[in-house]
């Protein structure tokens, strides 16, 4: 039995099979341990897949032994490999760092339900990434979305409930739009397999339903990916969710939606219209710019640290979209690499929030005062992650931002204006980071409750912050994957 052949499906079914088991474990620590070990396994598999993908190009897995397009097929290539690493890595880090923090939010008798939901969220997100079938993507999107609503609702903060309700409504609309689009595509082509769709769509005489399908799918996925102006659900969801859940979802969930958006757009729709690439930029580029500026501006105005970084996510999604909307090798690879680097930076920041929140009762605007001075190591690790978010040389964020600027300069028409936007928003990021630093280091501490520091969370914070530095100096594997992914996507354009 050649196990490597089964990697794509094992990536999904290991967390999926463990979820019902976690449900039956009526013990908090055991359920957490099961979830963490499973997630770690998924991470190891993702890295193994990335290495295999770098040797060859891509490989397919026919489920049930039925060949595509009749059966369902899984497919992994460089693009899916980098997103698999992001998802499984974020889940592992957040789970390991989040035990104490989650124990405060969730009662003992609900813990097994919570960790089962976490595993299903992980399985859903991974399942979306390896899927090569439009309807299969929808099924796993349902699993991932429902599970993430549960995770967000696990917060002890009651404001999480209205936030998650909004998230649920928006997410459902997004998924429904996607489903409508898939339905239209199936009516016109009779197939659901992505590579079969790519071929058959060209033979369709009347392109109106195809155009409508493209519209519905793009709007639905943009809603899921929180692309400006469809980001309304994001700030409250991220700020009221349990801290560990924020670390997990902020690092990967919108990126998975973006991944599907890019995959379907480039693999299926790019060839149907002459000038589609140009249209893609015309619609997305202004939205990206507006998102970058608006998100950064809102972050500056926001007093609450956790919500501030949620707003910054809106801006960072803007960067990724800006990169890909250039539809060039450099732009795409900058955007994809930024997915990875942003996950690294945001993951570290929210793990930092887990650690800091353990030292205060509630995350009020003044709760973090002086905590950096009290625990300098934590403060510094937190700031390093922040610097990576801004894009200071030597950190991971710098590499993708540099590539983005490079790609913008290649794109002649608007290059100066776009350059100004990137520079302005970087300055804005410095301002909001400075605000957080001021609170952490230069304000007098409130009388905080002294609680034991969560050691595992601190170790994770240091590790991920350090990874920000490592990938800033040697971006090797992610950069290579991003470059391959960009050329893969471009192969499918005209």
């Amino acid at each position: 039995m050649n196990l490597a052949l089964h990697y794509p499906v094992l990536q999904v079914i290991i967390p999926m099979l463990m979820a019902p088991l976690a449900l039956l474990v009526q013990h908090r620590k055991l359920a957490w341990l099961l979830a963490s070990v499973t997630s770690l396994c998924a991470f190891a598999l993702a890295i193994a897949i990335a290495q295999l993908v770098l040797q060859g190009s891509s490989y397919a897995y026919p489920l049930g032994g039925w060949q595509a397009p009749f059966g369902i097929e899984l497919r992994v290539d460089s693009f899916s490999a980098i997103v698999l690493i992001i998802v499984s890595g974020a889940s592992t880090a957040a789970l390991l760092a989040g035990y104490q923090s989650l124990a405060q939010d969730i009662e003992e008798d609900r813990a097994s339900l919570f960790y089962a939901a976490w595993l299903l969220a992980l399985a859903g997100l991974l399942g979306i990434v390896v899927a090569a079938d439009a309807f299969n993507i929808f099924v796993f999107m349902e699993i991932a979305s429902l599970a993430s609503y549960i995770l967000v609702a696990g917060s002890s903060d009651r404001r999480a409930l209205p936030a998650v309700f909004k998230y649920l409504i928006m997410g459902t609309i997004g998924a429904t739009f996607y489903l409508i689009g898939i339905g239209l595509l199936y009516i016109m082509t009779g197939t659901l397999n992505l590579s079969d769709l790519e071929v058959r769509i060209l033979a369709v005489e009347d392109q109106t339903p195809i155009l409508m399908a493209a519209g519905f799918i793009s709007v639905g996925l943009a809603l899921k990916a929180a692309i400006f102006p469809l980001h309304a659900w994001l700030p409250n969801t991220y700020s009221f969710a349990p801290h560990a859940v924020t670390a997990f979802l902020a690092a990967c969930s919108t990126k998975v939606a973006l991944y599907v958006f890019l995959r379907i757009d480039f693999f299926v729709f790019q060839r149907t219209l002459s000038d589609h690439a140009a249209q893609f930029s015309i619609y997305l580029l202004p939205l990206a710019v507006a998102g970058i500026l608006y998100g950064s501006a809102m972050a500056i105005r926001e007093p609450l640290a956790k919500r501030l970084f949620a707003w910054s996510s809106v801006a960072q999604i803007g960067y990724i979209v800006l990169g890909v909307s250039l539809v060039s090798q450099a732009g795409l690879s900058a955007g994809i690499l930024h997915m990875f680097n942003h996950a690294l930076a945001k993951g570290a920041i929210f793990i930092g929030i887990i650690v800091l929140a353990s030292q205060c009762q509630q995350l009020t605007p003044t709760a973090l005062n002086g905590l950096g001075r009290k625990h300098p190591l934590i403060g510094i690790a937190f700031v390093v992650a922040g610097l990576s978010l801004v894009g200071i040389p030597g950190t991971a964020g710098f590499v993708s931002k540099w590539l983005l600027i490079d790609a913008i300069l290649e794109h002649h028409r608007w290059s100066i204006a776009l350059l100004m936007v990137v520079l302005a928003s970087s300055l804005m990021a410095v301002v909001y980071l400075a605000k957080v630093c001021e609170t952490l280091f230069f304000k007098t501490p409130e009388t905080t409750v002294v609680q034991p520091l969560p050691k595992l969370a601190i170790a994770l914070l240091l590790l991920v912050s350090f990874a920000n530095l490592i990938f800033g100096v040697a971006p090797g594997l992610p950069l290579e994957l991003a470059n391959n992914a960009a050329s893969l996507l471009l192969e499918h354009t005209l």
Binding site: P20, Y61, F70
Partner: protein, 324 residues
Amino acid sequence: MTAVFSIFLLCLLVITAAAVIRTTNLFVAVMLMGIFSLLIAVSFFLLDAADVALTEAAVGAGISTVLFLSALAALTEEERKQAGGRVTALISVSITGLLMAYATLHKPDFGDPSAPAHQHLTPWFMQTTAEQIDIPNVITAILGSFRGYDTLGEVFVVLVAGIGVLFLLSSPRPSSQDKRSSEGLKHYLIPRMIGRLLIPFILLFGLYVQFHGEYGPGGGFQAGALIAASIILYGLLEGQQRALAVLPIKFLRLLMASGALLYAGVGVVGILRGSYFLDYSVLAADPVTAQQVGIILIEAGVGMTVTGVLLSVYHAFVARGKLQ
């Protein structure tokens, strides 16, 4: 004739939908939603989609009405006055609807044999089902085997939905109410007697639908909903405690987890026997028999999870509600 009936049904659907939106009484809205689901089920049946019609009738008109009602028991009956935003909602919904209608203007006609949906994959499905699976219901072959991975995903969607409801409803209450259980209809003789007569037939029909899925419309989803419905009916008549005595919460949780595990486990056996995940043809010596065995096993898994989830969700709602 069918066309006239379809148009009549669609008109009724529109009227029901409008009534659901207009009413401010949630109890009325729930009842109208039940009617809406039943009308849709009939429309599906007219479109020759018997499997979908059965699901819609069992889940949409049956179980979800009961679940809505038990949720309503924990809430007030009247809708809260809305401040505004209805006009914006109406406009955006209308635009979406018009776009969808416009897109479908260009699609192939209903029942057009040359439509891509009938020409591309369907002939292969028909032929392969006859050759390699040898069951009369092609829909079951597609759902259970050719696209079995999607169905596995759907089972986990049901599971995660159940986990979600249990997780939310088991949160500590803001006010300290003690748990109440319903008395049922113990003091209403006629509904109780008639209801009791119905239970064995519903249960039997559920089992028939479960094991007859290869030959006619049906399968685990519909059967799970029907079996759950019979237990829920018992709970409604005799009180929640009696229903819990038949199938306790712990057992239901085990049922929902083990159904999902059974389905995925059958898939894993495919890998262990040197083939692909969810390849049933290696389950027995003869690949055709093996496919049938595989489909029966996974349908059993589906039925277990659906029954377990629906009953757990029902009990969770009743325990949370004020009075039945």
